[in-house]
Amino acid sequence: MIRSLSRPVARALQKRAMSGASLPALPYAYDALEPTISSTIMEIHHTKHHQTYVTNLNAALEKAEAASKSGDASALIALAPAIKFNGGGHINHTLFWENLCPASESSPPTGALAAAIEADFGSFDAMKSQMSAQTVAVQGSGWGWLGYNPSSGSLEIATCSNQDPLAATTGLVPIVGIDVWEHAYYLDYKNVRPDYVGAIWDVIDWKCAERRFEAAK
């Protein structure tokens, strides 16, 4: 069937089938997280930063597929950093949009997740305090995570640098992530990262976190 189409069309169709990643839509409007995160930041963060990770991931994956087909290990190895950076960027931001929600819809965790937080940190406030401190302390660009350790069955706080994804880097299952690349907060908070991290708790979607926790344990 493909053979009967013109060459450019056939190529385009084949290209479409190969490219895996696409930019997910936000589950809310760009201004939904105001005043905590401005609509300006949300729009640039989503349509520029995340989109670029998606575009560059697909380009890297296309090259990797060709290299894989021809058994070119050297080319595959050379592509690894780009796949890690852009793939990680895509994974991280997809998780991030999902674990945010308008402040009016944000309420503290309940049920099994709440119990686990209390068991592993003493209290919800203690967990937030520790996660804030570790996330603020990230040097340069990176992420702060509340994660689930499947081996120990407990919750842990971890940070990753650049776009290193939590699961592939640490083995923890992501429950809640906070982006502390400067682009995530600079237009609103300048270099006062502690203000941003302190404020973002207002827009964390604990229902999403509960679903992730249920799926993980």
């Binding site: 852009n86 603020v136 040097q139 660009s141 600079y186 237009l187 270099n191 006062v192």
Partner: protein, 260 residues
């Protein structure tokens, strides 16, 4: 836009430091770690924040005035405050000399000592565009540039690739350095590392020019358009200073001295 209002306030209100101190008190309530990254008024110590050698708007339109003010008064000030904290009680060491063993000295010296040196180096190599356009590499520097990169254009292309988001990744700096064989190289370093620090590259290398590609260096004007920022930056590079840096490094095999 919200951030423009926030910028007008400190410029208009006397007692800018008082305003920052008030918010610092609030932040201290939220956790001790928070205080570390807040710009505080200068704390007495071995290192100082050097003044910019030009006005905040001097590098317009290539680097905007709000970025220069925040970058200098907040980001660089924080590095100075924190390197003073990290070296408190220790014998005074010139900031260039502090770079060599920064990795062994620990994260405080590495991040804040590196940050202080890098930014002090950065301010002094730039100058308003109308002056910059009248400067160029010396004949000895040009010879090295041509040998390493083919031409100045060739160097700028390789520099652009090394400074791109995928290369330096999150936060870092891109440098032209003199290596142990007296040849030029382009190297990228993450966070506030620099090639003067033992262990960062295969050997200590001596920067003659460098560009901050942390997002804070360009975000207000360029957002995610880092390649545009990198390309435009050459308009404000003072080749007279770069020539001085080159001569110093070739003669002394040491890091260029900086103010502060």
């Amino acid at each position: 836009m919200k951030f423009t209002l926030a910028l007008l306030l400190p410029l208009a209100v006397d007692g800018y430091n008082v305003q920052k101190a008030a918010s610092r008190r609030d932040l201290l309530k939220k956790g001790a770690a928070a205080a570390i990254t807040v710009a505080a008024p200068g704390v007495a110590g071995a290192y100082d924040l050097p003044d910019l050698p030009y006005a905040f708007d001097a590098l317009e339109p290539w680097i905007d005035a709000p970025t220069m003010k925040i970058h200098h008064d907040m980001h660089h000030q924080t590095y100075v405050t924190n390197v003073n904290k990290a070296t408190e009680g220790k014998p005074a060491v010139d900031i260039v000399a502090l770079q060599t063993d920064a990795l062994a000295a620990g994260p405080g010296v590495r991040n804040s000592g590196g940050g202080h040196y890098n930014h002090a180096f950065f301010w002094d190599e730039m100058t308003p565009a109308d002056k910059a356009s009248k400067t160029k590499p010396s004949s000895s520097l040009q010879a090295k540039i041509d040998a390493a990169f083919g031409s100045t254009e060739g160097m700028k292309e390789k520099f652009a690739a090394a400074a791109a988001p995928g290369a330096v990744f999150g936060s870092g700096w891109c440098w032209v350095v003199v290596n142990g064989k007296d040849e030029l190289e382009i190297v990228g370093t993450p966070n506030q590392d620099n090639p003067l620090m033992k262990g960062v590259k295969d050997e200590i290398k001596y920067p003659i020019l460098g560009l901050d590609v942390w997002e804070h260096a360009y975000y207000l004007k360029y957002q995610n358009r880092r390649p545009e920022y990198v390309g435009n930056w050459w308009n404000v590079l003072n080749w007279d200073k770069v020539n001085e840096n080159f001569d110093y490094v070739m003669k002394n095999h040491a890091g260029v001295p900086v103010r502060g």
